[in-house]
């Protein structure tokens, strides 16, 4: 936990050093701390951001429509995000101005992984796909190292609890990370946080089982020198001999031919 925090800090420090103070990038960043020309106020909980329509409306259609439409916000110039968390909203707005997010902003109250999940949710809610993407990436990076923490377990529960995230990369990401450490997770007799989540969240348990099966199958097929073709449409995995790249490949469960780009192809080594 301490080690993680220090790496994060160094990254933040580095990024600050490399940015000189006189280009468009930093100028945009500065806008947020320099609210003289602000023409819109966003409030959430006890916090308040003096922002610019030209910035936020361009990033998020939600803000655009709130300002344009014939609703209260259009005339008052204030948008209150009644049910969001200010610390998450802050991350959203930070990205609008600085194109970055800080996954440690919520420490120590919220672990980075849980925090990133919340950022993905809010990015989906207000339709800012770039933020969602970035947060997913952050989550994925950090999950690789933080898989053994309570933070990770809580994040898994959160992910499977929100219908908004089912289509994102996150569920797949947590299963992948969990399976990468299956020898620990499923070690006989040892209770751990991930197992606990699997006990509570049946969808996660099923995903784990399916992933496990896949992994075993992969190993078995790899021995026979085959490739695995995972269909991007139905996620079904099939094993074929190395197919010529210009040939369409048949997916049994979709009952359709797709070009090779429609599959995630992996060669598995022994």
């Amino acid at each position: 936990m301490t080690a993680m925090a220090s790496t994060g800090n160094t990254a933040a420090a580095n990024s600050q050093q490399t940015k000189p103070n006189d280009n468009l990038y930093t100028a945009t960043q500065d806008l947020l701390t320099f609210p003289r020309y602000s023409d819109l106020t966003i409030t959430c909980g006890n916090r308040k951001w003096r922002v610019h329509k030209s910035v936020v409306c361009q990033r998020s259609p939600f803000f655009a429509k709130a300002c344009e439409g014939g609703f209260k916000e259009g005339s008052s110039g204030v948008i209150n995000l009644a049910e969001d968390d200010p610390i998450v909203v802050n991350e959203l707005i930070r990205h609008m101005y600085a194109f970055k997010i800080d996954d440690q902003a919520a420490l120590p109250w919220l672990g980075s992984l849980v925090f990133m999940v919340h950022v993905v949710i809010i990015a989906d809610k207000y339709d800012v796909p770039r933020v969602a993407k970035l947060a997913e990436t952050r989550f994925s990076e950090r999950a690789n190292t933080d898989w053994a923490t309570d933070d990770f377990a809580t994040a898994i529960e959160l992910i499977y609890g929100s219908t908004a995230l089912l289509k994102s990369e996150l569920p797949r990401c947590v299963v992948r990370v969990a399976l990468a450490h299956d020898h620990v997770v499923f070690a006989e007799g040892k209770r751990n946080a991930i197992r606990a989540v699997a006990d509570r969240v049946p969808e996660f348990a099923t995903a784990l089982a399916s992933g496990m099966h896949h992994k075993i199958a992969l190993t078995a097929q790899a021995v026979q020198g085959l490739k695995s073709y995972q269909c991007k449409h139905c996620h079904n995995v099939a094993f074929e001999k190395n197919m010529p790249a210009n040939l369409n490949i048949y997916c049994r469960s979709c009952n359709t031919f797709y070009p090779e780009s429609g599959f995630i192809v992996s060669t598995v080594l022994n």
């Binding site: 439409g69 609703f71 209260k72 929100s162």
Partner: protein
């Protein structure tokens, strides 16, 4: 969930399961939204929080109730449109609007009421549509998350598209009342009615109609919103086009009945422009080409023929120089058919008619005089002479007039073509073809054109500037361009040119040469070859004359008494010498040996010797009938009883006759037979020369007994001692030098000769082709022959067949028995 952080808790709280929505109750949330939607539809949205509505919809979708929400919204809209909005619109429908759809043409009575009612209906509908769009815009904003997540995942049309479809179904596609037609049908009829009012000249609210058209363009038959499924295209446009077709059909018939063609064209053009404008201002631009096609079909394509043929049609316009109207006709027909078939047909007919008139007039002028000279032949002497010259003049006048008329005709239609027909290529081709038909159907065309040139060469170009002369030559060339039978023209031209050159009638040899070079450009080298040879002969002859004069001085010294000789040596093949012969004497004349008196005979043999020294092996044939002589003659009582010497210019024959009397005592006389025997002059020429020497009053050098006009066998002639004349130079007219139109017999001869030369040309062409191709099918041979000869004349197919037949007989060709199509083989 108000705050995950910030309460200072050290330990991370385990979040509840089903975060974002587990605690949402659908019915209550929907109630909030429904309430808000009501506010939006009653234009009362300004107090609503967008964030709150968005959040509520978001939560419902997160709770996987997207479908219920979608259906609730759709139901809400359907109810709203079906009850609130439709009632408002139906309220605007008056009886007159409802009956519009029944198809009966609306009566004029009550049109004001109908216009007002229609406008208010349109206005209400427009308002409803615009409200609907605004409200649905706001709803879409609020339901953005639903559109993005639920509609995309479940392949549902966006709620906006769905709501537009609802407008179509709930408003336009529903009957106004029980049993009455759908609102869209009423809308269509109302718009058509308004447009009809506009066509009748009333001011209509274009913007109002345009707004409704916008609506129809924004709505589709199905929620898939395919481009060609626009209601406008599916329901409105076809009805509009059909109604317009009916209207313009009637309008066209009415116009044809009530106004002249010029007005009709103006009206038709105005209507097309008007409909184009209407599409821009009132309907949709996409309809422009279609409605134009309708108007063009009804007002132009179906009516053009009738329009052109009416009394005030194209013929009238041409006759009265109505260029603007002609231009309109052209423009209109060009719209429907690039070839402009009706107009060109009519124009061609007019040209042919006018051309035929010109041709008939020329024939009439040339045929009018014949009774006069016939009568004069046997009639009194005094009258016959002027009549004869008059006849010649009239023939020439007819020719000149014909050419001028033809040129005027061409100029006139060229002008129309330029001013009214935008110098259109297709029309030009057609007009040219007609002009060519006119000129070629006139049998004397070739002769008349040649005569026209002849007349101008002899008189016309005197006192003219170079530019004017150029113009005249160009005119001649223009007519020549149309002429098909160029070989016939060549014959005539040669004949006329021959006379001009030999009798020195040409005003300017320069101009003659210019003409030839123009013809060379226009008709090609081979055409002018012989004509140029004639000029060459003339130049050579001048040199010969001068050469002989020097030679004579050298050989026999300067002898003032020697007769001076001017000679023209003509190449027999190039010169149409028969032009000078009077008919029926050809055969004899060739063999007749004229007896020359000694002094003349010496000159003749002298020149023959001189010539044969220069050009060995050439035979000279003396054309005595074409020569003339200058003689000095003294009459004892010519000038008031005193002797006087006159310079007489007369034909060679007349000179021979007069010389006989030189050696004869004054009181002695000679009979016709004696003169004939002494000179050996052909009968006919002798008679005519005697006539001019003894009968013509001004040149009566001889006295004839008995005194009568006709020369009869046994008539006696003696020297006229009492001849008197005030002038010194006297010209004896024998043969009329003027070129005139041929008589029927002459024409037949020319034709016959022409046919002969054509036969040769055809045979030559056929042999040339066959020699090269060895084998050829009949039809190909025909086409190639015609092709080769078309620069000279248009060969008659029958004639070609005869020539081929003759060539087969003479074993130049043979028929190929084994060929699938009739073919010939060349026999080397």
């Amino acid at each position: 969930m108000a705050s995950l952080a910030g309460r200072g808790r050290a330990k991370i709280r385990a979040p509840r399961r089903g975060l974002n929505g587990a605690d949402v109750d659908f019915e209550t949330t929907w109630a909030v939204l429904e309430q808000a939607f009501n506010e939006i539809h009653t234009k009362n949205a300004s107090a609503l929080s967008f964030e709150a509505l968005y959040r509520n919809a978001y939560k419902i979708v997160l709770k996987k109730k997207g479908e219920e929400l979608y259906n609730k919204v759709a139901n809400f809209e359907a109810n709203w449109l079906g009850n609130e909005v439709r009632t408002r619109i139906v309220r605007q429908l008056t009886h007159s609007l409802l009956t519009l759809t029944e198809g009966s043409s609306p009566s004029l009575a009550g049109s004001v009421e109908r216009k007002v009612a229609g406008e208010s209906f349109l206005r209400t509908l427009k308002q409803a549509w615009e409200d609907h769009q605004i409200c649905m815009g706001m709803l879409t904003d609020v339901l953005m998350y639903m559109d993005r997540v639920y509609c995309t995942d479940h392949r549902q049309p966006s709620i906006y598209a769905k709501a537009m479809g609802l407008f179509r179904d709930q408003i336009l596609r529903s009957p106004a009342r029980q049993g009455s037609p759908d609102l869209i049908n009423i809308l269509t009829s109302v718009i058509l009615d308004q447009i009809q009012m506009g066509r009748d000249g009333e001011d209509i609210d274009q913007y109002l109609i345009k707004s409704n058209v916008f609506m129809l363009e924004g709505l589709y038959e199905s929620d898939q919103e395919a481009e060609d499924e626009k209601l406008y295209l599916q329901l409105f446009e076809p009805v509009f086009l059909a109604a317009s077709a009916v209207f313009y059909r009637q309008e066209g018939e009415r116009l044809l009945k009530e106004s002249d063609a010029g007005t009709y064209c103006k009206e038709a053009k105005r209507r097309i422009v008007e409909e184009t404008d209407r599409c821009r201002s009132t309907l949709s631009e996409s309809t422009t080409p279609k409605i134009q096609a309708v108007v063009e079909d009804e007002l132009i394509r179906n009516k053009m023929k009738g329009l052109i043929e009416t009394e005030s049609g194209v013929k009238y316009m041409v006759d009265n120089d109505k260029f603007y109207e002609l231009g309109l006709v052209f423009e209109l027909e060009a719209r429907v058919d690039a070839r402009k078939p009706e107009l060109t047909k009519a124009m061609q007919q007019i040209i042919v008619d006018m051309g035929t008139q010109i041709n008939d007039a020329a024939v009439a002028v040339s045929q009018a005089p014949p009774p006069a000279p016939l009568a004069a032949e046997d009639g009194e002497q005094d009258k016959s002479r002027p009549n004869a010259t008059k006849q010649i003049n009239q023939q020439t006048v007819a020719a000149l007039k014909w050419v001028e008329d033809i040129l005027a005709l061409k100029a006139r239609f060229d002008n129309i073509w330029k001013t009214a027909f935008a110098s259109d290529q297709t029309v030009s081709t057609a007009l040219t073809r007609s002009m060519s038909d006119v000129i070629n159907t006139f049998s004397r065309g070739s002769e008349y054109i040649s005569l026209f040139i002849d007349e101008n060469m002899k008189k016309g170009i005197k006192d003219k500037t170079e530019a004017e002369i150029d113009d005249t030559l160009e005119q001649a060339i223009i007519t020549l361009r149309y002429l098909q039978d160029k070989d016939i023209f060549e014959t005539y031209y040669k004949k006329h040119l021959c006379k001009r050159l030999l009798l020195k009638k040409s005003v300017s040899i320069e101009v003659e040469k210019q003409m030839i070079s123009r013809m060379k450009i226009e008709l090609g080298n081979s055409f002018t070859l012989k004509l140029e040879a004639m000029f060459k002969d003339m130049t050579l002859s001048e040199e010969l004359t001068a050469g002989y004069r020097d030679y004579a001085v050298k050989t026999s010294g300067a002898d003032p008494k020697r007769v001076d000789l001017t000679i023209n040596v003509l190449t027999a093949m190039t010169w149409p010498l028969e032009a000078f012969r009077s008919g029926g004497e050809e055969e004899r004349e060739g063999r007749t040996q004229i007896n020359f008196p000694g002094s003349i005979e010496r000159i003749k043999t002298g020149f023959e010797k001189f010539y044969s020294e220069k050009h060995n092996g050439r035979k000279l044939t003396w054309q005595t009938n074409m020569g003339d002589a200058d003689i000095k003659a003294t009459f004892p009582r010519s000038r008031n009883g005193r002797p006087m010497t006159h310079d007489i210019n007369c034909s060679t024959y007349a000179m021979l006759i007069l010389l006989l009397f030189n050696d004869l005592p004054a009181d002695k006389s000679l009979t016709v037979e004696e003169i004939q025997a002494m000179t050996n002059i052909p009968d006919n020429d002798l008679k005519r020369n005697l006539q001019s020497l003894a009968v013509a009053p001004k040149t009566r050098f001889l006295v004839k007994e008995p005194m009568s006009r006709e020369i009869k066998p046994g008539d006696k002639f003696r020297y006229n001692e009492d001849f008197s004349s005030k002038v010194i130079k006297i010209k004896v007219n024998v043969v009329s030098a003027g070129n005139r139109v041929e008589g029927d017999r002459e024409r037949k001869e020319t034709e016959k000769k022409n046919n002969d030369s054509r036969s040769f040309a055809i045979e030559a062409a056929v042999v040339r082709i066959m020699k090269q191709r060895k084998q050829l099918s009949h039809s190909q041979l025909l086409t190639e022959t015609i092709d080769q000869l078309k620069a000279q004349f248009k060969p008659d197919v029958g004639m070609i067949k005869k020539r081929i037949e003759s060539l087969i007989e003479r074993e130049y060709l043979e028929r190929m028995d084994d060929a699938p199509v009739p073919s010939y083989r060349y026999l080397a």
